[in-house]
Amino acid sequence: MHKILLIVKREYLSRVKKKSFLVATFLVPVLFVGMITLVGYLTAKQGELGDKKKVVVVDESGRFTGKLKNASTLLYTFTCNDIVKEKKQFIDSGYDYLLYIPASLTGIQLLGEKKPNAFTGSNIEDALTGIIRQQRLLESGIDTAILAKAQKPLVVKSLQFTEHGLKDSQSGVAFAVGMAAAFLIYMSLFIYGSQVMRGVIEEKVSRIIEVIISSVKPFQLMMGKIIGVGMVGLTQFLLWIILTITISTLGGSILMKNSEKAQKARMEQVRSLQKENGAAMTVTNGDTAAAASDDIGMSTILSGIDSIPVTLIVCCFLFYFLFGYFLYSAVFAAVGSAVDNETETQQFMLPITLPLIFTFMMSQTFIINNPDSSLAFWLSIIPFTSPIAMMIRLPFGVPAWQLALSMFLMIGGFIFVTWAAARIYRVGILMYGKKASYKELAKWFRYKE
């Protein structure tokens, strides 16, 4: 035990003292916060920064002239010219698109030199549909008050039955928390697992390995390395969290002022749009609706966070991070021991990383949308995939027995995999110049001590 501690200490200190560790630890949060800020900024300023498309409209129906309002990325110009003429002069006109609305309203076309982006078409469709619907309703003699009422959106609140009665369940927040946790685990398994592998290769290549295992057992060396690198990972995570919080609080207070201004400006815009848009809608109506929807947004996020079992998630995150890391890094160590240099690891990497990549891809699409499906269940039970799959499922609520089974199998899987990896490792570290094949590995596995 004492010797494992010595190894852990060396593995930990030799990595933490490296310049690259310091650089990564301090740079990543800065880059992370910077990136988030930049994305947020660009999204907020999309209207100003994004290029505006000029659309010339030939409206034969006369229903839209003057009613189709400029949107953030679309500027409409109406023309009285007929479509044949417009088509002819379009290329030199300087417009990006030509919107042709026939009198019959069927066969509306958007013409342009370039393909419109994904949203342009649907934005125009939505705007036209909105206008025509309103007009048709008004034409049929509908009361403007009823129309205003009919256009008010409904809010659906999702509630969950729990032991403590009904609770708010906000799947948006659950979604985000699950994704973040799964992503962190996915990344760290790769980063720190391959650090273990590189450490093993380094010892093998530099030939110090034989001296060391004449003092300690290969298993002690392997475990010492895995624990040491794992502690480096925890340290780095902790520092990242602290630094990210610090930087974002500092940056946040500055950003807040800006965003408040932006918010006000946007509200103003929305209000004026609504005013013009719904001729029948009263100003006060639009105002309250906007304010109300804003309120709902904030409170749902807050109650959403409330609805998630934070302690459970944090504990499970630590559990799955550690055991997932132990499991995979043992495999990485075995691979490192079997090769003479890093390029040879390729053939073994794919089968190791495949379950991780598969689970991660599934988690982004399938599991997060169907957290209680049987595929999600199995992925969150099998030790190789459960660290990611379970983290995705947890915020949506997982029965206790499933969590217990998953954890039990995780520990069992960790013990078995470490045992198997150690059997390959102890032989591999002393083998040089032998091209390791799977057959060879199986042979090593069966060797007596």
């Binding site: 110090i208 001296v211 060391i212 004449s214 003092s215």
Partner: protein, 300 residues
């Protein structure tokens, strides 16, 4: 000191050690010899408990070999290496602690060795900043710092220039005088003659020869002598107590290599020759370890 009894080690499709038994006396320098692939490294790894034998036993100071014994052994493998990015001093302390030494004591002894081998300035250097010979010296210190009772050196002089090889040789002899038993695995037979008290020769996984160097050499004497003489050239004649193997003119007179007939003695030869020629030199040809090595291995 070390009793190796009937060790068998089988790898997948080849037998690395086949019923090998060797006794190593306390306080000797023991040469473990053999061509490449004979099983030397396999045996050394078993003694170091890096691998375990399939059958057979090893006794260390009359106790069956257990894990704790490795703290009393020092091992310098043939393929050497240090952590490239770790300071030499730290590295030696780390290896010493892995051998069970307490940190403070390890530091004290390391300093002493650094002074002795004139490497004081290297403490904070990383191996990548040092020459290969310097790294070897550092590794030697790491091997002996915990004052092992049994020191296993695999080709200890490879990689050293003649000056440093001599320095290391002196240290090895001194450690031996202080009581360390040394197992010395090498191809270089001249250093075997110089250092080793006893040897064992492995070939094709089997021990084919062992014993005290002087005894082995004695066993390989085959009654051949070199004579230098003046006078008429002697030739093989019936009734002579010897057989001439080679004969050639020398600077003065002739030089002959002859083998005494079975059962004969040198005195008989001299008695026969004295009336015939003027003898200037008579010397027995004792085979070198190198010759014994080659002869035994090729016969095997």
């Amino acid at each position: 000191m070390l009793s190796i009894r009937n060790i068998v080690k089988q790898y997948a499709n080849q037998r690395a050690l086949d019923d090998v038994s060797i006794e190593i006396e306390q306080g000797t320098i023991f040469g473990l010899l053999g061509p490449n692939g004979a099983g030397k490294t396999s045996l050394i790894r078993i003694i170091n408990q890096i691998t375990a034998p399939d059958s057979g036993e090893i006794y260390f100071k009359n106790e069956k070999l257990i894990r704790n014994h490795i703290e009393h052994m020092g091992y310098l493998p043939e393929e050497r290496g240090l952590y490239k990015k770790m300071e030499i001093g730290e590295q030696i302390l780390y290896l010493a602690q892995l051998k069970g030494m307490e940190a403070g004591e390890a530091r004290r002894r390391a300093r002493k060795w650094f002074e002795k081998l004139e490497m004081q300035n290297w403490w904070n250097k990383k191996p990548e900043e040092l020459s290969k010979g310097m790294q070897q010296k550092a590794q030697f210190v790491a091997t002996v710092i915990h004052e092992p009772e049994l020191l296993i050196l695999d080709e200890p002089f490879s990689g050293f220039d003649p000056v440093n090889a001599d320095l290391i040789k002196t240290e090895i002899i001194e450690l031996n005088k202080k009581g360390a038993t040394i197992i010395f695995s090498t191809h270089r037979m001249e250093s075997v003659e110089e250092l080793c008290h006893s040897i064992a020769l492995l070939n094709l996984s089997k021990k084919i020869l062992d014993g005290k160097v002087t005894d082995i050499k004695g066993r390989y004497r085959n009654s051949t002598y070199v004579l230098e003489y003046e006078g008429a050239q002697i030739t093989n004649t019936a009734g002579a107590p010897f057989e001439i193997l080679e004969s050639a003119p020398a600077a003065q007179g002739y030089r002959a290599k002859l083998k005494i007939q079975p059962g004969g003695r040198l005195n008989d030869v001299l008695h026969y020759l004295l009336p015939l020629v003027q003898l200037s030199k008579v010397e027995e040809i004792i085979p070198t370890m190198n010759e014994i090595f080659i002869e035994t291995v090729s016969k095997n």
